[in-house]
């Protein structure tokens, strides 16, 4: 019975659209399959809606393994191919230390202290000449 309780299907991660930005909030442990599903969904949503930024809030994530770290980097790379910028927000100190000790410094990834700072960062980019979708 308890086994069944823990074997519920992986939760669906909500992808919210706020104006020109996609907001993705990760909570708790993330299954590998969920992370991959999320990657796909974000790509499709950017392509269909034409948003210019993606904010991934991981303040609720206590454990980031190498797979999730790679997935985050891949999401960022995917999004930039689709002309959207990705910001990872709210990484916990313990997670940051673990990633650095693992050698995963995620050089291409942009980061922010919290969701608000991430939004500001994206807004500043959009208003800058030569920023994403400036020509539109």
């Amino acid at each position: 019975m308890t086994d069944d309780f823990y074997r519920v299907p992986p939760p669906h991660v909500p992808v919210l659209r706020l104006g020109d930005v996609l907001l993705v909030t990760l909570q708790g442990d993330l299954h590998d399959s969920t992370a991959q599903q999320l990657q796909q969904e974000i790509g499709e949503t950017i392509a269909s809606s034409g948003v210019t930024g993606v904010v991934i809030d991981i303040s609720g994530v206590e454990i980031v393994d190498s797979f999730l770290a790679r997935t985050l980097a891949e999401i960022a790379a995917n999004s930039s191919l689709l002309a959207a910028r990705t910001v990872v927000a709210g990484m916990r100190p313990a997670v940051a230390i673990t990633l650095v000790e693992l050698g995963l410094t995620l050089p291409g990834l942009r980061t922010a202290l919290n969701t608000e700072a991430a939004m500001d960062l994206l807004a500043a980019d959009t208003h800058r000449p030569g920023g994403p979708r400036e020509h539109r």
């Binding site: 916990r92 100190p93 997670v95 940051a96 230390i97 919290n114 700072a117």
Partner: protein
């Protein structure tokens, strides 16, 4: 074998010493109280010194009864360990070296041996010699116990101070809204840099800092290990969404870094803490402007 017979008659020498210690407890305590070790530590009254000497003698007698004259871990010593530690510490504070304290403990031996010899007038010379040797061995063990206790105390002190150093040496200072700084002082080892990293990251979260300045003016040398620690800290701060600026690299250290072939290319550097602060303020969109002649300093010209 006459010696064997004597030993049978009077019990083993060390037991003999135990009995002697109990029999002459008062006299030994009185004499020991006059020795510098007790006199200098228990300054309030002579009775206190005598009391302390009695406790030590009781412990010695107990050890002698157990026939463990060579054993510093004997049960009898555990009772007096604390007192011995206090005495040792008091002498160390008075500026005595460990060797001097050891000699002072050794000075307790002659009065006791003299009393022992006087106490056995009708014993054979062999017997007296054996008992005196046993007492000497016992006193030697006491000396060892005192030294052992003093060393343990010192070790504990060093450990406490190491912990304090870790706490004291890594303050995170809020310089401005959204700017924190860590002035690093002294050699960075992996334990310290771990603490620095953790406190800095915690401060970034608490202060909502967008900029973290690592000032290494007080770091005497930078080797590849220290540089690696710095880069780790910078990378971790970046992952959390804060930008890290390293300031205060002295010319000699800069040269060393270049000689070692370390690539600090990913690390943002500024010459001094002031420069780093100016950079951070500029990035935050605020700046410091010198008051002009007609400015607000006085209100009138």
């Amino acid at each position: 074998m006459p010696e064997h017979e004597t030993a049978e008659q009077h019990g083993s020498p060390i037991r003999e010493v135990g009995e002697f210690l109990r029999r002459r407890r008062e006299q030994i305590a009185q004499r020991w109280a006059d020795e510098p070790l007790f006199r200098a530590v228990f300054t309030i009254s002579r009775d206190e010194a005598v009391d302390a000497a009695r406790t030590v003698i009781d412990a010695l007698a107990q050890v002698a009864d157990a026939e463990r004259a060579n054993d510093t871990d004997a049960a009898g010593f555990t009772v007096v360990r604390e007192q011995l530690a206090r005495m040792g510490a008091a002498r160390s504070r008075a500026g005595f070296s460990t060797a001097q304290v050891s000699n002072e403990v050794d000075a307790l031996r002659p009065p006791a041996v003299n009393l022992l010899i006087a106490d056995l007038p009708d014993a054979s010379p062999d017997e007296v010699r054996e008992c005196a040797t046993a007492l000497t061995v016992l006193m030697g063990t006491l000396r060892l116990v005192v030294l052992d206790t003093a060393l343990n105390e010192n070790q504990a002190l060093i450990e406490r101070q190491q912990l304090q150093l870790l706490e004291v040496a890594t303050p995170v200072i809020k310089l401005w809204d959204g700017i924190v700084a860590v002035p690093l002082i002294g050699t960075l080892d992996s334990a310290r840099s771990q603490v620095v990293m953790e406190t800095l990251l915690q401060a970034i979260v608490e202060q909502h800092a967008r900029f973290a300045i690592l000032d290494i003016t007080g770091v005497p040398t930078v080797d590849s290990l220290v540089a690696q620690h710095l880069m780790k800290t910078v990378a971790a701060a970046r992952l959390m969404g804060a930008e890290c600026v390293v300031s205060g690299i002295r010319p000699a250290i800069a040269q060393t870094i270049v000689h070692l072939g370390l690539d600090l290319g990913t690390v943002l550097t500024r010459a001094s803490l002031a420069d780093a602060l100016a950079y951070a303020l500029h990035e935050l969109g605020s700046g410091i402007i010198a008051p002009t002649n007609g400015g607000t300093v006085r209100g009138d010209r």
